[in-house]
Symmetry: C2
Subunit: 425 residues, 2 copies
C-alpha cells in the first residue's frame, strides 16, 4: 500500500510491458459474467497481482467498500486548456542510462494509466491509457497521505491542532503502545520509531498485517488478528527513540487520520469534501476505502480523478489559492515547501532521492526549482514545480510497488518537461 | 431487496417512530471508531436491521462494493426552483382510517429520508431527514428495476432487442433451467412462473438465497451455494406455465440485466451512464451494488441522489424529452403508460393496488391521472402523475419492507398533493 525501501533486487525479471499488459487488450472483467480466468477479484487477491492490478487500480470501489468524498452541488472550477503537440518528443536521459528517452516513451516505461501536465494553470497535455477514463477515480495509494498532511497543517494554522503534544492528547487509547509516546509532529513527518516493516517482499511485514486488519486485503480463513485499522495501531511496539530518523511507515498516517477525526469530529470523507473537494470545484467525487467498521484508510485509500488531483496540485502551486478563494493557508504551503529535516531523511535508504526530505506527508526535493510531490506505490503522484509553474498528476500501474522502479525514468522526464516549458513559454 | 406480497401481519408491533429512530440522534457510526454498539456493519447483518437500516440506506457504498454510474464530465441540467410554503398543510385521509393526516405528518409516518416534489418541472418542495443530504446517493432497491425496464424498451425501439423471443436467444446458459423457457417480454412484465419466494418472513425464501449468492447479504460460515447472481439464476426451476399471471420476483430483473449486457456489450453502470445519467445532466454519480464477480445487482442495487431520481421521473413525465433532447423514445413511454395485463396483475395479491398493472418493470395505476411509478422496499419510489404535471421522488427507511405498509399513507397523500397543485396552479 505504501512505498517500500529501495531494493534493486525487487525489479522483476521482464514482466509484460505496458502494451502487452494493457488491461483492455487482456480482457479483464469483460463478458457477462467474465470468464473465471478473466476475473479480477478481491477474495482471491488477484486484484493485487500483476497484470490484473492494471485493471483494479482504476476500479477499486467495485472491489472494496468506499465512503464518498462528495464534490457537493456546487459548480466545477474549469481547468483551461492549452493543449500542445510538442511535448511527446521531449527527451531526457533516464537515471543510470546513457541513451535518451522521449516523454512519450517514458509514459510506457512507467505503465502510465493517466497523466496531465498543467503549465501556468492550463492543461497542456492530458492522456489516458488502459482501463482509465477522465471521470474515473484511480487509487492514489500514498498520495492520500499528502491530503491529510495538508489538512493537519490547516488545523495547526487554525490553532485547533498542536503538533508538539503527544498523540495521546487526542487518542488516549494509544497510551502504553509504541505510537503513544510520539508527538503529532513526529507522526506527521514519519520520524516515529516502531517495530513495523513496510517491506512488501516479507509476507510477515506489518504492512500486510495492517492491510488485512483493515480489510483492504482478504483475511485468511480462521483469521484472528486485529479487526480494524485502529485495532492494528494499538498492537504496535516502540523500537528506539522517536524523532531521530525518517522511517516511512503507513501506520503513521492512519494515526494522523485518527487524530484529525478527533480534532474535527468529522469523518475523513466529509473532512476532505468540506475543506478541499468543494472549495477546489472538483469535477468528480473522490472515494475512500474503508474497513469493516467504516474507518477510512488514511494511509492510502483515496481514489480520485486525474484532473481533480491536478486541481489539488495547482492549488498548492498557487500558494493555497484556487477557484477564486484561499483554500489552504500560506503558512501551510510554506511549511511543506521548506521541507523536513534532511539529516533525518538521509538516514533512510532512498538513494535515488539525495538531499530530499519529508514534511507533513509530502516529499520535498530541495532542488533548484523547489519541487515537491506526493507519491504512491506503483507510480501514483502529483509533482509540483514552482519555478517552472508546472504541475504533473500521474496515475500508473507499474508491476512493482516501489517508486524506485519508476524514478529513473520519471524524475528526468519531469525535469525535462519543466525545462522545456520554461524555455518555450 | 424487493417488494413482498402483502401480508398485514407483517406490520411490526410498535417499532420506534421516525423521530425516535432518527439515525443521527441514535448516533450510528459516530465516533472514531464508533462504539461497538453503534456500528452498522455488513458482516453481522446489522445494516439490514431496524433501526440501523435508517443509517445504512443512505450509506450503502461503504458497506458493499459498487460500480460507478458516472455523470461524466458534462454540465448539470438544473431543476428550477419554485419552493412553496403551502404544501406541508395539505390534508388527506389515509386508507382504512377516518381521521385526516397532513402532508408533513405523512412524511414522518413513512420514515421519509428525503422527498422532492416537482410541478411542471420546478422543485416546489424538497426535504431531507436523518442521515441523508442532497448530494448523497440512497439505495433505491427495486426502483432499479424500472431503469432497466426502460432501457429494455429503448433497445426494443431500436430493433436491438426482441421481446417475443426466448431469453435463451441472449443467454444460452439458461437452457434447461426454469427461466430458460420464458420470453423476454414475460421477464420484463414478471409473468414468469418459477419456484422462488419473495416472502421475506421465510428465512428459506429464494430472495434471501439470491442476496447471499450475490454477496449483498453476508454468506454464513461454510456457505457452499451459488457464488454469484448469475449462478443463482441457473438454479431456478419452473413452476407451471409462464405468461399467465403477474408474480413479482426480483430474479426476473437480474435476468433482464444479463440480457441487456449481452445485447449491448456494456456493463450496467456504463449502460446507465451513457443512456440516462449523462443525457439527463445528473448532478451526482450513481452507484450499483456488485457481487464478487463484478456483476451488478440489476434487481435492486442502484443508489442515486434524490434530485437525480426526480430528473429521471421528470424526463418520463415529459414523454422522454429532458435537458433539451430526446432521451427515451416516445414509444417506450407510451408502452409503460399503457400498462400491462390487468388480469395478470389481479391474480397477485396487491389488495391496495386494485386495477393496477405491471409493465416493463413499472407499476401502472390506470387511475384518472394516468399515474405510474417505480417502487422499492422500505418506501423508495418515483411517482409520475401526468395529469397533475407532478413528479414525486422519495427515499425512506420504513421498518417494514413491503410498500403495503406505506401505501395507506403514501397514495392518498400523493393524490392530495396532485389535486392541490392542479387547483392552485
Amino acid at each position: 500500500m505504501t512505498e517500500p525501501l529501495i531494493d534493486p533486487t525487487m525489479i522483476a525479471p521482464e514482466p509484460l510491458d505496458a502494451v502487452a499488459s494493457d488491461p483492455v487488450t487482456l480482457g479483464w472483467m469483460q463478458g457477462a459474467p467474465p470468464p473465471a480466468d478473466k476475473q479480477v477479484r478481491f477474495d482471491d487477491g488477484s486484484m493485487f497481482s500483476f497484470p490484473q492490478l492494471r485493471w483494479a487500480y482504476s476500479n477499486m470501489p467495485q472491489l472494496i467498500p468506499t465512503t464518498t468524498v462528495t464534490r457537493g452541488t456546487g459548480g466545477v472550477c474549469p481547468l483551461p486548456r492549452a493543449d500542445r503537440d510538442d511535448l511527446d518528443a521531449i527527451e531526457c536521459v533516464p537515471l543510470g542510462r546513457s541513451e535518451t528517452m522521449t516523454w512519450a516513451q517514458s509514459l510506457a516505461a512507467n505503465y502510465t494509466d493517466g497523466i496531465v501536465v498543467l503549465h501556468r494553470g492550463h492543461i497542456v497535455y492530458e492522456r489516458y491509457f488502459g482501463a482509465l477514463t477522465a471521470p474515473q477515480p484511480h487509487i492514489v495509494w500514498s498520495v492520500t497521505k499528502s491530503f491529510f498532511g495538508t489538512i493537519a497543517l490547516m488545523l495547526i494554522d487554525q490553532g485547533r491542532l498542536d503538533h508538539d503534544t503527544l498523540v495521546t492528547t487526542y487518542v488516549p487509547e494509544l497510551a502504553g503502545t509504541g505510537l503513544g509516546t510520539a508527538t503529532v509532529r513526529q507522526v506527521m513527518d514519519m520520524t516515529t520509531s516502531i517495530h513495523y516493516s513496510e517491506d512488501y517482499t516479507d509476507p510477515q511485514a506489518g504492512a500486510w498485517q495492517h492491510g488485512r486488519a483493515g480489510g483492504v486485503l482478504a483475511k485468511p480463513e480462521g483469521y484472528s488478528g486485529p479487526a480494524s485499522f485502529y485495532d492494528f495501531l494499538r498492537t504496535l511496539q516502540q523500537d528506539g527513540a522517536h524523532g531521530e530518523a525518517f522511517a516511512y511507515k503507513t501506520v503513521n498516517t492512519d494515526l494522523l487520520g485518527w487524530i484529525l477525526r478527533r480534532v474535527t469530529g468529522q469523518r475523513l470523507n466529509d473532512m476532505l469534501s468540506e475543506r478541499l473537494w468543494a472549495p477546489l470545484g472538483c469535477e468528480q467525487d473522490g472515494r475512500l476505502l474503508v474497513d469493516s467498521a467504516g474507518t477510512e484508510f488514511a494511509g492510502g485509500g483515496l481514489n480520485v480523478s486525474l484532473r481533480d488531483l491536478a486541481r489539488f496540485g495547482e492549488m498548492m502551486r498557487c500558494g493555497g489559492e484556487f477557484n477564486g478563494r484561499r483554500i489552504v493557508p500560506q503558512a501551510a504551503i510554506d511549511a511543506i515547501r521548506a521541507g523536513g529535516d534532511k539529516g533525518h531523511f538521509a538516514k533512510s535508504d532512498y538513494v535515488l532521492l539525495p538531499g530530499w526530505s519529508y514534511r507533513a506527508m509530502w516529499w520535498v526535493s530541495h532542488n533548484a526549482h523547489g519541487a515537491y510531490c506526493a507519491r504512491g506505490i506503483h507510480g501514483q503522484g502529483v509533482y509540483i514545480d514552482p519555478a517552472a509553474e508546472m504541475v504533473i498528476a500521474r496515475f500508473a500501474s507499474h508491476p512493482m510497488a516501489g517508486n524506485a522502479n519508476l524514478d529513473p525514468t520519471t524524475l528526468p522526464a519531469y525535469a525535462a518537461m519543466a525545462e522545456h516549458l520554461m524555455v518555450t513559454g
